[in-house]
């Protein structure tokens, strides 16, 4: 439905914050969605205390996947694997149980609220988180 593609989502995807390879990546992880063949790569540069300094992503995927990666590109710096996992869980809760959008820095994820009604697309939003969390992990 068109409500999935509100201007916000399209803009996030178009902005593509953090898109591109990271020259000084400490780790890079590629994740596939077997259902649609989408593929997301996250390069991360990890700093002290296992916190992210910078990310770069390459997305072969749909607008939802691109927009999700773009949100991560904008807000990942300063997070670690555990805090990103917490963000992903609240995003999941929003999609699967209709929980409110995450608060604070990650409030932009509320843009994806209409995806809740489309189970077949949940994975599109979650895939980039999978990639960045794996990249930020040990």
């Amino acid at each position: 439905m068109d409500t999935l593609y509100k201007t916000d989502v399209l803009r996030l995807a178009a902005q593509a914050t953090g898109a591109g390879k990271l020259a000084d990546a400490t780790k890079s992880v590629t994740v596939d969605n077997p259902l649609c063949g989408d593929r997301v790569t996250f390069d991360v540069h990890m700093g002290a205390n296992s916190k992210i300094v910078a990310v770069g992503h390459t997305v072969k995927g749909c607008v939802l996947c691109q927009a999700s990666a773009s949100v991560i590109g904008a807000h990942a710096a300063g997070e670690d694997a555990a805090s990103l996992e917490a963000v992903r869980e609240s995003l999941k809760a929003m999609l699967k149980q209709g929980a409110p959008a995450p608060a604070g820095a990650w409030a932009t994820l509320g843009t994806f609220a209409p995806v809740a009604g489309h189970k077949s697309r949940h994975e599109c939003v979650l895939l980039p988180f999978e990639a960045v969390i794996q990249a930020a992990g040990k």
Binding site: D2, T3, Y5, L10, C36, G37, R121, C124
Partner: protein, 419 residues
């Protein structure tokens, strides 16, 4: 399919009126434009009613019962077999085995015929196959040590029969290819395949999943040995399909699944097998669904399928034209497969540079248009095109100009937003 020359007025609205789902309002407001017929076709009232009536009036297990319901159910089930035999112009009714669908039918052949193969024997497939006509053979290869060889695909999205001479050797025991591609709609040059098979004594299996909804098939004229189809793609119920097999070939094969009704005698030590088709119908078959498939064939027989083919070919032409005109300088649209409706059915897959098929399909859904996006269970073919997926519009005889307009308008809108 070649466009038939005669111009019969095809009353599409009269046909539409028989499909309750076409009156659906999606999201509570948008009329449904169902262009996902290659995935599954819709069901006319006559079939809905046949299914209900069977379970409400004649329900019983088949084959062994002597009470009145069991006789009525067996008669209905066997009448359905007769209808499938007629639809395919099979020589004998016993050549029809009811299965769970095309996938079930092909797995049956891959196992029963597969059991007759020896290590080093070859099965020839193509690069255009649906996973259902590829994975069962890969499993057989891994089990039995046979070798798979693959016919290429032409630029036009057809199975390249030019490869036959090279690929079909004396070791080839079977050529298994699709009759009609579920991605490009292209009709395979079956005569060339059969010719090549006959020179080496190989059998031919056609995957008819995409063909059987477009009017009767003549397996005798095609000259093949096996034909697989799914009811749900031909206006019938899910849960049933059929394998046609030449009687002498079927009769020479061991059983695949074991269970009730496929046996002659059973002891704890040893069992012997029933004649065909029972040998391949282990357990309670999809009785009501077979009856529904029979009703769907009756329904299809009541339609002028030649006129319907002209009708859908015209609609498909409009889609092809529309895609060409929507694809301008900064919107690159690539139609996969033949660029005209020559020797093809109305299944049209396309890729838009910079727009993901799922975004396209989702946006079109907002317009009430049901498309399908992805690799359509033909991942090797998509890989060969360098694409992860395509969007696919596939027509059935109940589609009308309004469906095409909604599709083209919706696509224009989607591409404006996405590219």
């Amino acid at each position: 399919m070649n466009k038939p020359v005669r111009v019969v007025p095809f009353d599409v609205e009269a046909v539409r009126a028989q499909f309750p789902i076409l009156r659906t309002l999606l999201h509570g407001k948008v009329p449904l434009h169902y262009l996902d017929n290659a995935a599954t076709a819709q069901v006319p009232e006559a079939v809905l009613e046949a299914v209900r009536a069977h379970d409400a009036l004649r329900r019983a297990n088949v084959k062994r019962g002597v009470h009145a319901l069991a006789e009525a159910a067996t008669d209905a089930y066997e009448a359905a077999r007769r209808k499938v035999a007629q639809h395919l112009n099979a020589r004998e009714e016993r050549e029809i085995v009811f299965t769970s669908g095309t996938t079930g039918a092909i797995n049956l052949v891959a196992n029963a015929f597969g059991a007759t193969l020896k290590p080093g024997d070859e099965v020839v497939l193509s690069g255009l196959e649906h996973h259902s006509n590829l994975v069962p053979w890969q499993l057989l290869r891994d089990r039995a040590g046979i070798k798979l060889r693959f016919l290429g695909v032409t630029e036009e999205g057809r199975i390249d029969t030019g490869d036959l001479d090279e690929l079909v050797s004396e070791r080839c025991k079977l050529i298994a290819v699709t009759h009609v591609s579920n991605v490009t709609g292209a009709i395979t040059d079956v005569a060339a395949v059969v010719r090549a098979a006959r020179t080496v004594g190989a059998r031919v299996l056609l995957d008819g999943a995409q063909r059987a909804s477009h009017g009767p098939v003549d397996v005798q004229a095609l000259g093949v040995d096996f034909y697989a189809l799914s009811s749900h793609k031909m206006f019938g119920p899910t849960g049933v399909g059929a394998l046609w097999g030449r009687a002498e070939v079927l009769a020479s094969l061991p059983p695949f699944l074991g269970g009730g009704e496929m046996i002659r005698t059973v002891t704890l030590e040893k069992s012997t097998w029933a004649d065909i088709p029972a040998r391949f119908e282990a357990g309670t078959p999809p009785i009501t669904q077979a009856v529904g498939l029979g009703a769907a064939i009756d329904w299809q027989a009541g339609v002028d399928t030649a006129a319907a083919a002209v009708h859908t070919a015209h609609l498909a032409d409009r889609i092809l034209d529309g895609l060409r005109s929507l694809g301008g300088a900064n919107r690159r649209i690539r139609v996969i497969g033949p660029q005209t409706m020559e020797r093809r059915f109305p299944v049209i897959a396309f890729a838009v540079e910079g727009a993901h098929p799922h975004d396209i399909c989702q946006m079109l859904d907002g317009h009430g248009v049901a498309l399908r996006g992805g690799h359509h269970c033909a991942q090797p073919f998509h890989d060969s095109l360098g694409l992860a997926g395509t969007s696919r519009a596939s027509l059935a005889l109940y589609n009308n100009a309004g469906d095409v307009d909604a599709f083209l308008t919706g696509l224009d809108d989607a591409l404006t937003k996405l590219t």
